[in-house]
Symmetry: C2
Subunit: 357 residues, 2 copies
């Protein structure tokens, strides 16, 4: 049995939700208690939280990261354009959902590739590969970490970032108590303004807690009720590959046995006039030391560092190129109750293929 909502109902939901909630978001001056956070989870709207202290905030200079990580190899997403996991034209001109090339390198070499070590103004428009640490697989902590005894954990697959674990708590007490569970994954993200995360909400929705350690993250958010403005389409899957160690990256379509990917066809929802006027995007810029509660099912497009579209100047800040480092904690979404059902309903419609017009 399947269902779909008609356009009139989708419009009604978007308008009703906006009428009830606007585009306001709350900012807390200090982390909430578990009870306060539980109430916020029930409301399920983005919240900016200041004052959540993790050791990484004082410790993570380039020098520290390089020294602690030493010769270890870490998995870095490499793309020709900074758009990993995004819709991009392939060699045949058709649009693909393209996953990054994954390359192993040392922290030292990785950080060298990022601003401000690179001369931004001299980046050529093409043939300049862009690195982004965005492995999203629980690169700091996985659910296995919480399920294992310390001994078992030590023997199981170790994090690539084992030497940095002491700087990032495996879980956030007020979150774990409110959600009544440990995180499913804790991820480290390091990149610069050339890398962008295209808009998505996650087919397996997570409750997301996102803390900026250095630099700035710029979120463009849409509530679940506005998802249909993003015009999801079905795209064939591809990966950036490097045929030989000295080749440039090429887009390699995956075998037809690889499932196609459902993804928004709106590539730059943070730019004016890319969304219908009726949509209600929220723009939240998160500075170092600030944490975002990004509720399950919310659509998010994420940029970072220097951003001409985000006027630092208006806030009296100097524009500067910088690395952005962030950590996020993913908690499983509460499966009981209505939450899943509503999110499924909102995405229950048939989605057309992206390359047919």
């Amino acid at each position: 049995m399947a269902t779909t909502l008609d356009l009139r109902t989708l419009q009604w939901l978007s308008k009703e939700y906006h009428d009830m909630n606007g585009t306001h978001y709350e900012t807390l001056d200090k982390p909430p208690s578990a009870l306060e956070f539980s109430r916020l989870v029930h409301i399920s709207r983005p919240v900016v939280i200041k004052g959540f202290e993790v050791h990484a905030l004082e410790r993570w200079t380039d020098e520290y990261l390089i020294e602690r990580m030493g010769d270890r190899k870490i998995s870095i997403a490499v793309t020709p354009n900074g758009r990993a996991d995004a819709i991009t034209p392939g060699p045949d001109g058709k649009l693909y959902f393209v996953e990054p090339h994954i390359q192993q390198m040392t922290m030292h070499n990785f950080l060298l590739s990022l601003a401000p070590n690179t001369e931004k103004m001299s980046w050529p428009a093409e043939n300049q590969e862009i690195c982004y640490l965005q492995s999203q697989n629980g690169n700091m902590y996985t659910s296995q970490f919480f399920e294992s005894s310390p001994d078992q954990e030590r023997q199981s697959e170790l994090s690539e970032f084992e030497p940095l674990k002491a700087d990032v708590p495996s879980e956030i007490p007020w979150c774990s108590q409110a959600f009544d569970r440990s995180p499913d994954a804790v991820n480290l993200w390091i990149g610069d303004s050339r890398s962008v995360t295209s808009i998505h909400s996650g087919s397996d929705p997570y409750e997301n807690i996102y803390t900026v350690i250095r630099g700035t993250k710029h979120f463009t958010l849409l509530p679940p009720t506005d998802g249909w403005y993003l015009q999801e389409r079905i795209y064939p899957h591809a990966t950036y590959t490097r045929p030989s160690p000295v080749s440039t990256l090429t887009t390699t379509p995956s075998p037809l046995t690889t499932s196609p990917i459902r993804w928004s066809s709106i590539l730059n929802p943070h730019l004016p006039d890319t969304l219908p006027r009726e949509a209600h995007p929220m723009h939240i810029s998160l500075k170092a030391g600030e944490t975002l509660y990004l509720p399950a099912g919310w659509w998010h497009h994420v940029r970072q560092g220097l951003d001409e579209n985000f006027s630092n100047a208006e806030r009296g800040e100097e524009l500067k190129e910088e690395k952005t480092i962030a950590v996020n904690w993913w908690y499983d979404f509460e499966g009981r109750g209505m939450g899943w059902v509503w999110l499924n309903l909102l995405r229950s419609g048939d989605v057309p293929y992206g390359n047919t017009t």
Copy 2:
């Protein structure tokens, strides 16, 4: 702008919600902490809570109630059939939503009218008026109580049950903390098995905490996603009136200027075969000392005391006629987030008039 969900979507929602949640309800051996309760509110499913102690539980014998209330007059709902606020045929054979006649009497006279003082077996089928204390207007505490200073409160309209207030807390700490607000109303309910509350969910949904003080309450519950099985219709409004002090009650249609009432056309959803097989009613019987969390938007039909349809015998209990006394706390529903929008969507369809076939 209005919308409506088609039958296919309504069926899908009902099935999906049931597939995710079943008809299970949790029973807690002791009251939850505020944090635990906040999590339960987020899930928004019925929960039975044992061990919530209020003084009324030990104190409220008939003798105590009569002694404390003395000569005060209290407002009692009187009907010929035990169905206050229910769909009933009027003198013209048409169906009406009929409100009870409200009569002032002492607690002593009111309790005398109830089982087991009355000889149940000798109740005539007709012309036997049935009394139910069900005023639902915050008869114990109103929101005014929480907004006023003690002095102001004393001068404002006093509760009819002022002498019983010491036995019922004005708010429940773990609820007020979880909801982050005081109750909007606290109500006292006293009746016997002849009185029934017809199924409804409330157009202004409340979070409801319901504690049985004496006797038994039998709830038939349906989740918000099953509401459409209840086939709401629009009915004209009427009131039971007593033309002269010695008359029997008659159904008096209200002036046409009185808004008609939207109500379920299924009168006995607790009985087998009254609902479609696809509906998923839950049956919960609550004994003295037990508390039900009845989440906002859940449909509820409520019976009490002796009930041939509820097999006390199966639980090894003797069938006996008894008074049932309960207290409930209504807390305003959280208006932020999705909750309101979804409940409105589920009831957004056009509803036909009840007297046209």
